[in-house]
Every structure is written in structure tokens, then in C-alpha cells.
């Protein structure tokens, strides 16, 4: 037999089931995000850690032009080194029969008669290399799958200007190639970039590296001073053409995955708390309204001898039931969502396995958080219950005193009929309640507006990068820097409309204690095809002295215009140059630094050199042109701008970016939930008044006006506030999504706010419709009989 209070509890729950469910769902979404993100962060970092460990990923990478093998012995004798491996790495182009543009690839050596000490590969399919067959390769699995290549197939690739035929014996993955965008891009496109592993001897022969290596890999003992080792390596390799040693932290693939995890962790700190806050707020509204209307009953219970705690517990149970229901639902949704999302992650991050693993502690903590949130919402109740005296129960209810409400200018009020006055006075009489309702709806709108704004901001990122900064059709890069005739040669090819040379030079930027490994991009004076733009999208004239940094790079280095950087050029004569920052450029992908081409070449004592070019072409000649470019040994890669753009769009829409849509939907549901909840509460509070109005002969519509007018005014007031909240939220979200790999601008996209406002209005209309339906069914006699 249930205690009678519990019986009441169940009845009350059933009575407010619509609202209860709405709140539980909001809470469930908060918990879902928490569980999903926590689980993802957990799974990604655990998988990453064990993958790195199992395949012995190096901690230090030192690329060099060509160094003799005996140096490796020397390095392994250093005190702070646990393992050393030397290997050969080279750019290659894969020629597929059905592809007009050669595909960029990276060839990596594997020792012939032993397993590599560091950076081993995971063999997904087929077999390992047979050292007696020098033409065998292992191919990156992602590329092979995207191109339909299987073990046993043959393919040709150009290495060092020579075309060779290879036999694919296996498909592989490796921790250093978790995330494999083509060089210079930030989004991987499985079809357009490949990695293959081949016999060290064969690769050495192809690249003139006999008895030599061009990359050193190291691991260090725990707590070793990596800066010291990097310095030592650079010193040792200096005379062999060191390109600058770096740690795993600066390794591109690792940086992408680490940034992704970091970003998840960041949003995990912002988004679920917002949802939980909204849920607490809704719970508070419902429960406070309940206690208010049951004050008499509470007084009576006290008169019967129930203690304040017993009664408070009754209301707490109510709240807890909703919270626990929400939390459980959220856990289930979170696991489902997490599983789905890990599948998406695997499309972009090539883990051999990625199991969505939920830490039981996450479930427990999300349960605790929900309960805490619910209790916060209900804390008010306890205080209220204790404050009530039994005597209050015996007194007939006093009508709310409207005399103290701000008297509107009587002249103004006289213009309105009584129902309108009721609406205005009610809003005015409970300014706090009105404000709460307004903020509630504004919060809901802010969620939608913020999400929509970020969504459009992503599109702006694309448009800015691919339409304003880069106005070329394709770019080519050369195997090594060439003289100016190369540009004339390109310009004379059929279909080429314009050519603009660029020079990319690897460099390390130093400022104070900050350090960034990147590149200097040198552009011709007054470039047309690829430009540095300021924040008003106006081209920045590149000075003869000085460097223009992207905002992201300036942020990383913590420099401002006028500061002087140390630019450590890692090519040619390797000058270390102090250069002043002349301006900051707006960029949305990467963290480039721009200089004038002539100025850079002058500093490097290499006049007229370019490392590649941006081309504008006549699309009618495209196929011929590609065929010509494919046959030019000096060209290392050809990159079509539209392909890069499509890859990026795809990731935004289908990849990790797809979470935006999920959040969008959740935001819309919550917006509706809040609006509907406000309307429900107003209805419950007004039921008796409305019934009285109907008894007096007001029609259903006239009575509805009193209620819906209130909702309407609140909604309209909420919209401007929602815009303000939305701006704040989108700034927060943008900051969370931006890093030095890509930046999301905090631009106000008016349509985002317009759509959110329309969504709120629709939600208000929908709620109004639902409430109107209940109002039409209102049992007049029943409503009048029950005393508030």
C-alpha cells in the first residue's frame, strides 16, 4: 500500500506528465551530450594512446636532407634516448589510369630484414613485404578502399622523376597517419592522398639515399627534456641539411587528433551545462508553481503534524523522479549517439579499431549531476514549504494584490478593453515571473540562434577561403624551387589564363618563449589569384620589409603589429631573420605568414625562385592541361581548388561537423519545450479566471485572448533578448571550435537570428494552438469548484 502522500505524488506526476516529460527530455539531452562526449573523449584518447604504444610511435621527428647512417649509432648513445630509427621518406605521385590528375603520395621506407624499431605499421589486409621482391608495397588502407585497390593489384608511381610499377601486397595503417590531409590542406580526402611503404633498399635506390636516411625517429624516457634533444639533433644534423627536429606535439596527424579531443573536451564543458541549466530552470518553474498552488494543502499537512522535511521530501521526490528518468534516457541516448559518432570519427581518423567505451563513472556522475541540478531547482521549494504556517491554510485565499502594480498611465490604459488590461497588469504585477518567462524563452531562442549562426559561420569560412583569399582554379607545386622561366612555361600551356608564382618555405617562428613550426608563404606583388586579406576583406599590400601574420599565428605567438619575430628559415642557406610584423591578416584555415616574394628571395639570396604557382584556367582545356601537367617531372603536385572545397564541405556536413545538426535539432526541441512550458504554466495558473470569463459569456476566443495575449507579449519581448544571448553563445561556440588549424569567425549572420526568431514564433503558435485546444475543453464547473 502506497503512503497517501506517494499516491498524491503519482497523481501529480500524471497530471503534469506533459511538462514533466518535456523537462525530462531536456535533461536527457544534457546527459546525452555529457555521456556521448565523455565517452568519445575517453574512447578517442584511450584508443590513441594504445595505438601509439602498440605500434611504437616516435616522440621526436627530425627530417634532414640526407644524412649518413652511422649517425644513428651516435644518436643512440646519447643518454636520454630509448630508441632510434632512421628511415627514408619521399614525395611521390601515383598515376591511376582513370584519373587525369596525378595523386600525391608519400613513400615511406620499412627495414628489409627486421621490424622497424619505431613507427611500425598495422597490417589490415594482405601480407607484409617480402624483402626479396623490391617492387612490393603496402598501401594506406583508406586510399586503397577509396580507389578500390586490393592486395595483388599493381599500380604505377613516379618517384624522383621516374615512373615505376609496384605490386600492392597489403593494406596498412599507421599511428602517424591517423589523419591524412594532402600537404597544405586541412581536411583529408581519402581519394586524393596516399601513403605507401616499401623496401628501404628499393626506396634508397630510387631517391639516391644509399647508406643514408632523411628522417630520424626517437623515443625518450619519461620526463626527458625534449627541448634539449631537439637542439642536440639540430646541431648534429646541421651540416646534413636539418629541416628542424620536432616533437610529436607538432606532428600534423597527432595535432589534428589532439585538437579534436581538446575541442570535444571544451564543448563538453560548455554545452551540457547549458542544457542542464535550462532543465533546472524549467523544473524550478514547474515546482514553484505547484507549491504555490498547493500552499493550502501544505498548510493542512503541517496542521496534521507532518514536518517541513516530510513535505519537502514529497516535492523533492517528484523532482527526482523526473531527473532520474531524464538521466536514464540520456544515458541510453548518449551511448547510441556515441556509437554513431565514433563511426563518423573513423571516417576521418583512421583508427584500426575505435570502440565507444563508456566509463561507468560517467554514468554515475551524470546521474549525480542530474540529481544535483534537480535539487537546485527544488531548493526553493524547501524554503517555501518551511516558510508556510498552518494558519495560512485556514484562511480563504486572498486574491493577488494588483493595487501595488505600477499603475499604467490611466489615459493609456483607457484605450484598452478589460481583457487587454488583465494581460498587461498580469505581466506587470509579477515582473520577476514575467522576466523569468522572457529569459526562459530568450534562452531557448539563443540556443537555436547560436547554433544556426555557427552553422552559417562555417559556410562563411569556406566562402572566404575559397572565393576571396584563393581565387585561382588550381595550384601546382614543384619538386624543388625553380627559376622564373617555370612560370613562363606554365603560362604558355594551352588553357592557362593566368599564372602567379608563390614560394612556400618551411620556417620556425620564435617570439619570446613561443615557437611555431610553419611556413612563410611569399606572394608576388599585388597578387590577384591568392591574396592576404584584412578583416574587411581588403587586400593587404605586402611590404618590402616585414611580414604579415594570420590572426591565428599571431594568436599562437602572442605577437602584435610592430613586434619583431625571429624567423628561422629551414631551406637553402637557412638564415635566421628578425622580421617585424607589418600587419595581421584574416584567414580561416591554417596559420600562414605572408611575405613579399622578392623580399624573401632577397633575404635568402635566391632571386627569382618560386616553389609553385596558382593558375586560373579555361575549363574547356582542363583535361588536356591535366594530362600535360601529369607528364612534367618538375611538378610535385596538382591541386584543384574545388576538390579541396568539396572535401571540406563534406566534412562539415557528414563528418564531425554533422554534430552541429544534432545540436541544432536539440536546440529546436528545447526552444519548443520552454515556450510550451511557459504557456502550460500560464494556463494552469489562469484556469479558474478563464473559466469565470467563460461563465460570464465570453466566447472561447475572447477567453483565449487573455491567456495567449500574455504568451504573445512575452514571446515578442523575448526575441530581442534572445538575439543578445544568441550572440554571446555563438561567440562562445566559435571560440570553442577555433584553433590554429581552422578558425570560425564570430560574424553575426542576420538570417540565423531571423530563423531562430521564426522558430520561436512558430513554437509560440504551436503551443498557443495546443493550449487553445485545452482551453476549449476546459470543464467550467470543475475549474470553478476547485479553489486555487
Amino acid at each position: 500500500m502506497l503512503a497517501s502522500l506517494d499516491q498524491k505524488l503519482l497523481r501529480d506526476l500524471w497530471r503534469v506528465r506533459g511538462q514533466g516529460l518535456a523537462i525530462a527530455v531536456v535533461m536527457a539531452f544534457g546527459v546525452m551530450l555529457m555521456v556521448m562526449m565523455d565517452g568519445l573523449i575517453n574512447s578517442l584518447s584511450e584508443t590513441k594512446r594504445s595505438y601509439y604504444e602498440r605500434y611504437r610511435l616516435a616522440q621526436v621527428f627530425a627530417p634532414v636532407k640526407r644524412a649518413p647512417k652511422h649517425l644513428l649509432q651516435q644518436i643512440s648513445d646519447w643518454p636520454d634516448v630509448t630508441a632510434v630509427e632512421g628511415r627514408i621518406n619521399g614525395g611521390a605521385l601515383i598515376n591511376l589510369p582513370d584519373e587525369t590528375i596525378p595523386i600525391r603520395a608519400q613513400a615511406v621506407s620499412l627495414p628489409d630484414y627486421r621490424a622497424p624499431r619505431l613507427n611500425d605499421v598495422y597490417l589490415a589486409e594482405g601480407r607484409r613485404l617480402d624483402p626479396t621482391h623490391k617492387n612490393e608495397i603496402l598501401l594506406l588502407q583508406g586510399f586503397a578502399n577509396a580507389r578500390g585497390i586490393k592486395p595483388g593489384d599493381h599500380l604505377t608511381a613516379t618517384l624522383n622523376g621516374t615512373r615505376r610499377s609496384f605490386h600492392v601486397v597489403g593494406l596498412a595503417q599507421a599511428p602517424e597517419f591517423l589523419y591524412t590531409p594532402a600537404p597544405g590542406e586541412i581536411v583529408p580526402d581519402d581519394k586524393r592522398f596516399a601513403v605507401f611503404w616499401m623496401s628501404e633498399d628499393a626506396l634508397a635506390a630510387a631517391l639516391d639515399m644509399d647508406g643514408a636516411f632523411n628522417e630520424v625517429l626517437l623515443t625518450l624516457p619519461l620526463g626527458a627534456n625534449s627541448a634539449h634533444i631537439l637542439h642536440q639533433l639540430d646541431q648534429l644534423l646541421m651540416s646534413y641539411g636539418a629541416l628542424g627536429a620536432y616533437t610529436l606535439d607538432d606532428h600534423l596527424s597527432n595535432r589534428f587528433i589532439s585538437e579534436e579531443i581538446q575541442q570535444l573536451a571544451n564543448s563538453n564543458q560548455v554545452v551540457p551545462p547549458v542544457f542542464m541549466g535550462v532543465a533546472a530552470f524549467l523544473l524550478y518553474i514547474v515546482i514553484s508553481r505547484m507549491v504555490q498552488s498547493e500552499r493550502e494543502q501544505i498548510g493542512l499537512l503541517k496542521a496534521f503534524g507532518y514536518t517541513g522535511w516530510e513535505i519537502s521530501l514529497h516535492y523533492l521526490k517528484f523532482v527526482l523522479l523526473i531527473a532520474i528518468l531524464g538521466a536514464l534516457l540520456g544515458c541510453v541516448l548518449g551511448v547510441l549517439g556515441g556509437r554513431g559518432l565514433s563511426g563518423v570519427y573513423q571516417l576521418y581518423y583512421k583508427f584500426p579499431f575505435l570502440l565507444f567505451r563508456l566509463d561507468p563513472a560517467t554514468v554515475i556522475s551524470s546521474l549525480l549531476v542530474s540529481i544535483m541540478v534537480a535539487c537546485t531547482g527544488a531548493a526553493w521549494v524547501v524554503q517555501r514549504v518551511f516558510a508556510l504556517t498552518p494558519a495560512q491554510a485556514m484562511r480563504p485565499p486572498t486574491p493577488t494584490d494588483f493595487s501595488t502594480s505600477l499603475r499604467f498611465g490611466q489615459g493609456l490604459l483607457a484605450k484598452f478593453d478589460q481583457p487587454t488590461r488583465m494581460v498587461l497588469r498580469t505581466l506587470n504585477r509579477h515582473p520577476l515571473k514575467t522576466l523569468m518567462s522572457i529569459s526562459g524563452i530568450a534562452l531557448g531562442m539563443a540556443l537555436s540562434a547560436g547554433m544556426l549562426n555557427v552553422l552559417s559561420a562555417f559556410d562563411r569560412t569556406l566562402a572566404f577561403s575559397f572565393e576571396q583569399v584563393d581565387r585561382s582554379d588550381l595550384n601546382v607545386s614543384f619538386v624543388e624551387p625553380l627559376g622564373p622561366d617555370s612560370l613562363y612555361y606554365l603560362a604558355r600551356l594551352p588553357g592557362v589564363l593566368a599564372v602567379e608564382g608563390v614560394r612556400d618555405v618551411p620556417a620556425i617562428f620564435h617570439f619570446g618563449r613561443e615557437r611555431y613550426r610553419g611556413a612563410v608563404t611569399a606572394l608576388t606583388p599585388a597578387p590577384q589569384l591568392f591574396r592576404a586579406l584584412d578583416k574587411h576583406s581588403q587586400p593587404i599590400a605586402l611590404p618590402q620589409q616585414g611580414i604579415v601574420l594570420s590572426k591565428a599565428l599571431a594568436g599562437q605567438l602572442k605577437v602584435q603589429t610592430g613586434d619583431t619575430l625571429l624567423v628561422d628559415i629551414r631551406q637553402g642557406r637557412r638564415p635566421k631573420l628578425p622580421i617585424q610584423v607589418a600587419a595581421i591578416a584574416e584567414t580561416m584555415t591554417g596559420a600562414p605568414a605572408y611575405m613579399d616574394l622578392n623580399a624573401l628571395n632577397r633575404l635568402m639570396f635566391e632571386p627569382g625562385r618560386v616553389s609553385g604557382a596558382h593558375l586560373r584556367i579555361d575549363m574547356h582545356y582542363a583535361q588536356d592541361l591535366y594530362a600535360k601537367l601529369k607528364d612534367m617531372p618538375a611538378i610535385a603536385s596538382v591541386n584543384l581548388k574545388n576538390q579541396s572545397r568539396q572535401a571540406m564541405e563534406k566534412m562539415m556536413d557528414e563528418g564531425a561537423g554533422a554534430t552541429r545538426y544534432v545540436m541544432m535539432i536539440i536546440a529546436a526541441v528545447i526552444t519548443f519545450g520552454i515556450v510550451y512550458n511557459s504557456a502550460r504554466i500560464a494556463f494552469a495558473e489562469r484556469a479558474r479566471d478563464l473559466a469565470s470569463l467563460r461563465v460570464m459569456g465570453l466566447t472561447k476566443s475572447e477567453a483565449a485572448f487573455v491567456l495567449l495575449g500574455e504568451l504573445g507579449i512575452i514571446t515578442l519581448l523575448a526575441i530581442p533578448l534572445g538575439c543578445a544571448f544568441g550572440y554571446g553563445l555563438s561567440a562562445l561556440i566559435s571560440a570553442g571550435f577555433s584553433n590554429d588549424l581552422y578558425q570560425v569567425p564570430v560574424t553575426v549572420v542576420p538570417t540565423a537570428y531571423g530563423s531562430a526568431a521564426i522558430a520561436v514564433l512558430l513554437a509560440a503558435l504551436g503551443s498557443g494552438f495546443l493550449i487553445k485546444r485545452d482551453l476549449d475543453r476546459l470543464d467550467l464547473v470543475g475549474a470553478l469548484k476547485t479553489r486555487e
Binding site: 486574491p399 494588483f402 493595487s403 488590461r421 497588469r425 467563460r694 459569456g697 465570453l698 470553478l784
Partner: protein, 245 residues
């Protein structure tokens, strides 16, 4: 029924006439027969008092006559109109144009002043009296701009009466109008009702537990167990001021 029917009443007929009126709430074990066949005729312009033990069906009858609820079976006419046949929209018009209600718990709109509460009704009525005049009739000319919270229970009830009579209803239903009031205030309220009946010719039905109120009625109906147990026509009607409580 056309909408104009409410304007073209045959006033030679009694205000209400009912035959075998029943009302059943619920079904199965929770079934309650609130009215078990009521036969009653109420002539226009009378002041009628309904007496009876709690649960005997008085409020139920009042609600049905007032168009708030409908009967389960039986016939019910309002002058020449068939009330039982009216739909929801027609009942709203019926209440709007012809009926006033006064309840035990006043049911004033807390967000409107006394005057505005009355105006709420005068704004939608066909030929209402002036709202201030209605308040004057119940002796509240000095309380026009007070909000309900600033009025005593008796004053609130008088505002409710003013609100009910302001549209000059043909019929006024009062369900325990004095239930929440002390005897002196109660008498003031009854006095107001009697004046309305005399001066405006309004048909008034008062449900009450105070048997002494019967003395001021033209007709007294005793209710028991969902039926009329006794009906008395008073030859002599006392003034409300002279009633013993």
C-alpha cells in the same frame, strides 16, 4: 435555433420549465445520479430559493439551468427555447446575453479593479447598465478603483453581484452567495439581490443552506436526493433586512 431566437423570446411563458430532468455523473461503480427526475416550473421575475442537504443536487441543477453543464435526460426550456438542444456556441451566447452568475467564492479577476471587473461584462453585453451605476446599486460607489485584494469578502461578493447584474440579465443564478460571509454582510448581499429582483424584474435563483433566507423568496424549493421533496409558494415576502439568521 437561430441566433436571433435569443432576441425573440415569448415572455408570456415561464422562465424555465423542466420535465424529468436527470443528471448522471460517471459510470460503473463511480456512477452518481445527481438529479433523479426534476419537474419544475419557474415563472419569470420570481425570486426563488433552493434549499437542501449537501450533495442533494442543487448546484448541479443550477449549472444545467445556467448553461454550464447539460442534462443527461429530460426536457428543459427557457421561455420558448429548448435549452437542452443548444450547442456549445449557442450556450455561450445564452450566458452572454441573458444569464448572470454569483458564486460562493466571488471569482473576481484579481488583476482588474472593481470597476474594471464590472466593465469586463458590460463591454460584451447588448444593453448593459453603466458599470459605475451597477457598483452604486450594490453600495460600492466609493470602491470603484480598488483591486479585489483591497476589498473585504462581502465587498468582493457585492462586486460579483454588480458584475452579474450589470448586463441586465434576465436570470441571475447565485450558488451560496452568502456562504463565505458573516450574517450582517450576508444580509447586505441578499438585500442587494432582492432590490435587483424588484427593480429590474430579474428572475433570481438562490441556492443556500440558510433556511431563514426562504422567507424572502416568492417560491421555495426543497431538494433531497436529486429530487424536489417540497415546493412552497410564499404569499408574503419578507424584506432581506428582516430575516433572522
Amino acid at each position: 435555433m437561430s441566433d436571433s431566437a435569443l432576441q425573440n423570446l415569448d415572455l408570456s411563458l415561464p422562465a424555465f420549465a423542466m420535465q424529468g430532468l436527470t443528471k448522471v455523473f460517471g459510470s460503473g461503480p463511480s456512477r452518481v445520479e445527481a438529479l433523479r427526475g426534476v419537474d419544475l416550473t419557474i415563472p419569470a421575475a420570481e425570486l426563488v430559493v433552493l434549499l437542501g442537504p449537501s450533495g442533494s443536487g442543487k448546484s448541479t441543477l443550477l449549472n444545467i439551468l445556467g448553461g454550464l453543464d447539460s442534462a443527461t435526460s429530460g426536457s428543459l426550456s427557457y421561455f420558448n427555447l429548448d435549452l437542452a438542444a443548444m450547442d456549445e456556441r449557442q450556450l455561450t451566447q445564452y450566458r452572454r446575453q441573458h444569464i448572470g452568475f454569483v458564486f460562493q467564492f466571488y471569482n473576481l479577476m484579481p488583476s482588474l479593479t472593481a470597476l474594471e471587473n464590472v466593465q469586463l461584462v458590460t463591454e460584451i453585453a447588448e444593453s448593459p447598465m453603466d458599470a459605475a451605476e451597477a457598483l452604486a446599486m450594490v453600495g460600492l460607489e466609493n470602491r470603484q478603483h480598488h483591486f479585489p485584494a483591497q476589498l473585504s469578502g462581502g465587498e468582493q461578493q457585492r462586486v460579483a453581484i454588480a458584475r452579474a447584474i450589470a448586463k441586465r440579465p434576465r436570470v441571475l443564478f447565485c450558488d451560496e452567495p452568502t456562504g463565505a460571509l458573516d450574517s450582517k454582510t450576508g444580509r447586505t448581499v441578499l438585500n442587494v439581490l432582492q432590490e435587483v429582483n424588484r427593480e429590474l424584474g430579474t428572475t433570481i435563483l438562490i441556492v443556500t443552506h440558510a433556511a431563514s433566507t426562504a422567507a424572502m423568496a416568492h417560491r421555495v424549493i426543497h431538494f433531497a436526493d436529486g429530487r424536489i421533496s417540497k415546493e412552497v409558494e410564499n404569499d408574503q415576502v419578507l424584506s432581506a433586512a428582516d430575516i433572522d439568521w
